[in-house]
C-alpha cells in the first residue's frame, strides 16, 4: 500500500481538505444565521440540514473529483505510475490505491455531515426521531455509492486524457445525474421523443441519492424495498464505471 500512503500524504500536505472540513463543519451552523430562520426559529434545523448536505455535495463534486483527477494525472505524468509498475504494482492496483486515498478523505466528511444532521437537527417527536438515523444512514450509503465510482472514473480519465478532462467530464456527469435528468424529464413531458426518452431512461439518475428534501420535509426513511433497489441500481453504475476506469487507466500519459 505504498502508493496509497503516498497519495494520502500528498493530499494531506496540500491542505485543501481543510477548507472542505471547515465548510462541512462550520456552514451548517453559520448559514442558518443569514437565512429566514433568524425570523422564524422553527426553521433553524431545516436550514441546517440543507446547509450541511449542500456543503458536502459541493465539496465532493468540486474538491473530491478535482483531487481524484489531479492524483490520476500526477501518477501518470510524473513517472510514479511507471515506477510502481516496475516494482510489480499492477495498473488496476494503482488505480485502487489512488481511489482509496481520495475516498478516505471523503468518508469522514460524509460521516461528519450525517452526525451533524443526527445530533444538531433531529426532530423532537419520538416517532420521527426513530426514523431519523435510518434515513441518515441510507443517505450516507447512497451518497458514497454515487461518489465512489465517480472518483475512480475521474482518476482513470485524468491518467489518460489529462486532469482537466478527468475533472470536467465527471463533474458534468454528476451535475447531469443530479439536475440535468430533471430538466430532460420536464422537456419530455412537454414533447415526447423516443431517442431522448431512452437517453433519459439509461442516464445515471443520481437525483435518487439526494435525500436532502426527505430530511428537510421529515418524509421518513426510504421504504426498504426501494432502498435496496437503489443500492442495486447504483451498484450497477459502480460496476460499469469500475470496468470503464480499469480499461481507461494508464500508468503513464500517452503521448
Amino acid at each position: 500500500m505504498r502508493l496509497f500512503r503516498l497519495t494520502i500524504a500528498t493530499i494531506f500536505q496540500r491542505k485543501a481538505w481543510a477548507i472542505c472540513l471547515l465548510a462541512v463543519v462550520a456552514l451548517p451552523f453559520a448559514l442558518p444565521m443569514i437565512s429566514s430562520a433568524t425570523e422564524k426559529p422553527i426553521l433553524v434545523q431545516p436550514a441546517r440540514i440543507l446547509a450541511a448536505w449542500d456543503a458536502l455535495w459541493v465539496c465532493a463534486v468540486l474538491w473530491g473529483l478535482f483531487t481524484a483527477a489531479r492524483e490520476g494525472e500526477a501518477n501518470a505524468k510524473s513517472g510514479i505510475g511507471e515506477y510502481f509498475l516496475a516494482t510489480g504494482l499492477s495498473a488496476t492496483r494503482q488505480l485502487f490505491e489512488i481511489w482509496l486515498a481520495v475516498f478516505c478523505f471523503l468518508v469522514p466528511l460524509t460521516l461528519i455531515t450525517a452526525l451533524i444532521c443526527q445530533f444538531a437537527a433531529a426532530p423532537a417527536d419520538p416517532v420521527e426521531h426513530s426514523m431519523w438515523w435510518v434515513l441518515n444512514a441510507q443517505y450516507v450509503v447512497l451518497f458514497l455509492l454515487v461518489m465512489a465510482p465517480l472518483l475512480a472514473l475521474a482518476t482513470a480519465l485524468a491518467s489518460r486524457f489529462g486532469g482537466i478532462s478527468g475533472f470536467a467530464v465527471t463533474l458534468g456527469i454528476a451535475l447531469y445525474g443530479l439536475y440535468g435528468v430533471g430538466y430532460l424529464d420536464n422537456l419530455l413531458k412537454l414533447e415526447e421523443n423516443p431517442i431522448l426518452r431512452h437517453l433519459w431512461l439509461f442516464s445515471p439518475q443520481y437525483r435518487f441519492a439526494d435525500l436532502t428534501q426527505r430530511l428537510y420535509f421529515k418524509s421518513g426513511a426510504l421504504p426498504t424495498a426501494a432502498f435496496w433497489t437503489m443500492t442495486l441500481y447504483f451498484g450497477g453504475i459502480l460496476a460499469v464505471y469500475t470496468g470503464l476506469s480499469r480499461l481507461c487507466f494508464r500508468t503513464k500519459l500517452s503521448s
Binding site: 439518475q205 428534501q213 433497489t229 460499469v240
Partner: protein
Amino acid sequence: MSRLSSIALSTALIGAGALAWAVAGRPLLANPDLDTPLNALGINRSPYGEVLAMALQGPIDTFFDAGVSGGAPEPKDAADPPPAATPRTLNARFETLLISFDKALAARTNPKVGSDAMKRHLRRQAEDKLRFAYQLDPAHYGNYNSLHFFLTEPELGTRPQLTAAAAKLAEDTIQYCLKQDHDPRPALTAAAAATNILELMFNDQHNATPKYDTTQMRQCLNLIDHCLARYDEVAQQWDQSKQWNLLSPQRVAECEERRQFITKIRDTQNQTLLHLEHNHLAPQASN
C-alpha cells in the same frame, strides 16, 4: 493477471453493471413516491430561498426597457431625486463609470424599434425572472404580486383577464401559503391572491356572457376573510411568543400596511359584490 483476462474482467464488470443498472432502473423510475420536483440544491422554498427572494426584489422593481421603445428615454418619476452632482471621491467616480458602462452596454442606438420577436424574447426574459423569484419563495407578497400582474398585464385596449395561468398561480399560492402555520405573512399573500381572483371575476362582468356568478364571488370573498382571520390568529401567536421582535421595524410596518391595504380592498370588493348581488336579484323580483 494477463492483459487479456484483465480486459475480459473489465468487460464482464461493465456488462453485469449495465444489467443491474437497467433492471433496477425501471422500478425506480416508475415509482411515483421517489419522484421529487426539480430543485437544485433544494434552494426553492427553503429558508435561503426566502432570503434570496427578498434580495431579488430590487432587480424586479427596476425599469426594464432594453431598448424596446427605440431609444426613447427612461420615464422619469416625479419622486425621482434630482441628478446628483459629480461625485468627489475616487470610489464614487469609479462606481459612476462602471454604471455608465452598464448603461452603454444595454443602450439601443439603432433608431428602429425592436422587432416583435425581440419583444417576445424580452417578455419571456422578464417572465422567467419573475417566475424564478416566485419559485424561490411562493409566499413572498411582492414576488407573487409582481408575477400575477405580469401574467394578467393587459394588451392595448383590453382589460386584465382571469386567465388559466393567473388562476392557477393564485390557487397554488393560496394553497402553499395556508400551509405555513409558523408565520403570519404568507396568509397576507394568500389574501392578496384571493383579492386578485375576485377583482378579475369583477372584470369578467363587463363581458357579454360573464363566466362567473355571484355565488363564486361570495366564496372568494369568504376565502379572503378566512385568510385574514388566519393572519390575525398567527399574528396573535407571534405577539405572545414575542416573535415580532425578531423582525426589523420596517418589516413589521410593511406587514401592517399590507394588512390595512387588503382590508380596504376587501371592504370595497364587498360593496361591489353587494351591488352585483342586488342587481342580479332585481330583475328576478320584477318577473
